[in-house]
Every structure is written in C-alpha cells, then in structure tokens.
Symmetry: C2
Subunit: 213 residues, 2 copies
DNA sequence: CGCATTTTTGATACACGTCAATCTCCGTGG
DNA sequence: CCACGGAGATTGACGTGTATCAAAAATGCG
C-alpha cells in the first residue's frame, strides 16, 4: 500500500496510465490528511486550500440567519471541496466529516487548476446538487435508502460497505427527525438490508454492509 | 432600452465600469434569446452551448429511473447554465423556463471561459445548491416565501417584482403538492404580501409584487 | 364561444413531528 | 476492574401539517 511505486517503474511512470495512477496514489498517500467522524475539516471565513475527497463523506454547512448551521451540501469520494478559496482565499462553508475520511490537497502537485478539470468539477457539482435535492423528497425510507446508496462503495467482496453517519446528520441531510431516522434504520436492520460489518482488530462500530433486498 | 449606447460614449467605453456595463447590455441585447413560461430551453443529450440567464428563472430537470422528469436545480438572473457542454458537447439536464426569460450565449464574445470566470460560476453553483436545498425544509409557507425571495428582483419602485411560476413547478421545487401551494399563495394574497402587478398594454398575467409584511 | 389546462376549495387520511422516558455505548477516573 | 456520566440511539403515545381524493371554478387559447 505504502511501497514506493515510483522506484518500481522501469521507465518514466508517466508513460502508462496504470503506472501514473499508482504514482498518483503514492503521491496522495504522502500528503493525505485524515479526519474522524464529526471532526471539523474547515471553517467558513477561514483561509485554506481546496481538497479532493479520497475516502469517506463530508457535509457542508451554511450559517443560517439565526446563527445556526444548516446543511448545505454533501461530498463523497472523488468530489472536490473548498474551490472557493482559489478565488476568494477563504472558505464559504463549514465542512464536517460525516464518517472517518481522507482528503488530499487539490489541485495535485504544483500545477494550478486547468480549465478542463474545473469544468469536470462543475459538472460533478451539478450532478451532486440533483442527488442532494432528491434526498429531500419521498417517503422517509426512500430518502434514507438513497442517502445510503450515495455513501456506499462497493468493496472487495462485491458488497456495498460504508460508515453510517450519526443520526443527527442523516436527519438534517434528509430533512427528517432523528427519531424517524432511528425507526427507519431499525427497519432496515430488521429486514437484513443493513448489517453491521465487524472488522477484526478494529474498534469502529459504525461500519455497515448494505445489500439491496 | 435598445439604443446604441456605444455611440454615446465620448471616450472608450471600457474606461468606466458604468459605460462598460451599458456596452455589455447592448452586446447581450443583440444575441439574447427569449423564452416563454413553460417553454423548453434545451433537452438532455442534445448538443448546444452554455447560456447566461439575463432575466427570468429556469428549472433544470433530470431523468428519473422510471423515465419521469425530476426537479434538479434552479437558475435565476446572473446564473450560467449548460456548462457541461463545454466539456462533453451535450447537455446533461433538461431546461424549462419557469417564467418568461432571456438568455445570452456564454462565454461572451469569442473568448473562451477563463479560469476565474469558471471559479466564479462554481462558487455561485455551490451557493445555489445551498439555497435550493433550503427550499425543501420547513413549513409550506416558509418554503414558498423563500422561493419567492429567490425569484423576486427589486424593481424601479423599490418593490420586489417577479413572475410567479406555475403551481406545478412551485410544488415540484418545494416538494409540496399543488393543492398546498394554491392554499399557501392564497393566504399570501389575502394578507397583501403578494399583489398582482398590472402592466398597461401587456397581457402577462403572472407578474406579482412581493412586499414582506 | 367552447375546450383544455390550471387553480381553487373542501373533506378525510396518514406519515411524520413532537415530547418524554429509557436504553446503549464508550470514555474517564477512582 | 468497575462505577460514573454524558452523548447518542431507541421506543411509545399522541398531535398535526400536509397529502390525497374529488369536484367546481377560473383561466388561457384557438
């Protein structure tokens, strides 16, 4: 995982995409920052850089008129957050980890953001908006299932594995109460759609396997 | 409105921002396209260009799994839509006019999109996401009021004037039923918060004045 | 004028919110 | 090792804001 792939390459690692990818992974591993569930990643109005989400999920909050924090957006694996700092030098939202997660500085390396990469991020943001808006319509069960589908990644056993965010977070994302979320999750566990994933030697209790039907 | 402001300028119009703005308006007036309420602006998978919203409001729809169209996003004055065509050459969403509106091709002129303009559009998109997500929480009255506040622009009499979208559209944006929207709008009219704006010699019946309290 | 679409209004049903009590988990310190 | 405490999760009883269904009225348009 952490071996230096650069030294393995017989030729310049940039000649082949597989090698480039490994190089990229190595590079990211060196500069990656980890956050725990519930930990604040950055704060609105603070200065900082943009990040790519390597793993885990993040919620972005906006200050409400009354000073409270309102859910504003969601970021999952592959998304880039905090791009507003490239323009204004300051974050506009407050970012909190929904699950344990890893972030890498973006843009990668010393290069600045290219036009195409910005366009890709913009297109991804528009898709994400549509997804997040959809999380707030339909029955409670549908909303929770859609959120889980966004968070779950297919793991090595071809199951969908993910870390369940706290009830309070799920409730604010889906615009339901934490009591309704608790009842909904209970039904999913009872039906066997959601099962606890025990990772030997690891004390993380919020990992679940998600199996449709 | 349509007079050639360029010829009025005694000096280069680009020396002063007021002149530059007028020049910009003139330029846009020449290439602007108008759409009526309910009219389709573009279709998902069709090829085309990006647009800046000069006036009016637009809803973006996404295809649901069952083939139906789901509300995905909102665009108002100043927003840029369809940027995904700069990358993929095809639209990803379906755009429909919520009110009569005017669009101008973007990027303006023959120049291509600059890094900074893309960053500004990305930042605006993130803010818009937060706004649209907020439209789907709270009481029916609050949701409708927030939507109106997004659509209303301060006019020359310092009132907030806007074109009310169809009930069906408001209901899909706020995730309420059209019956609930009808009841809510009725209360707003009854309270005098919403008043019909009659424009002499114009047959547009959906213009309203919005006065808080 | 006549038809299609949209809006309005009323009666009833229900999914979820609210409130309150209890339980579980987990870190902390004696 | 266990008692303690706080945060979060769970469960139950009950209330309510909005959905649903149905029918009438208003509006827009050729």
């Amino acid at each position: 995982m952490m071996r230096n792939d650069l030294t393995d390459a017989k030729i310049s690692p940039f000649h082949y995409s597989a090698s480039r990818k490994r190089c990229q992974q190595h590079f990211e591993a060196c500069r990656t920052r980890s956050f725990h569930q519930g930990e604040q990643i950055y704060c609105a109005r603070a200065s900082g850089i943009s990040w790519r989400v390597i793993s885990g999920s993040i919620r972005l909050n906006r200050m409400a008129n009354d000073g409270g924090m309102l859910f504003a957006n969601l970021a999952v694996e592959g998304d880039v957050i905090g791009t507003e700092t490239l323009l204004m030098g300051r974050y506009e939202f407050l970012a909190v980890a929904l699950s344990d997660c890893e972030l890498a500085p973006w843009p990668e390396g010393s290069s600045s953001a290219s036009r195409d990469s910005l366009l890709r991020i913009l297109a991804a943001a528009e898709r994400r908006t549509a997804d997040v808006v959809a999380l707030r319509s339909g029955l409670a069960m549908d909303r929770v299932m859609r959120l889980i589908a966004m968070l779950a990644q297919r793991d090595e056993q071809a199951d969908f594995c993910f870390a369940l965010p706290k009830g309070q977070d799920i409730s604010e994302i889906t615009d339901l109460t934490k009591e309704t979320i608790s009842r909904t999750i209970s039904i999913l566990k009872q039906k066997g759609i959601l099962r606890k994933k025990v990772i030997p030697g690891q004390s993380i209790h919020r990992n679940y396997i998600f199996r449709e039907r």
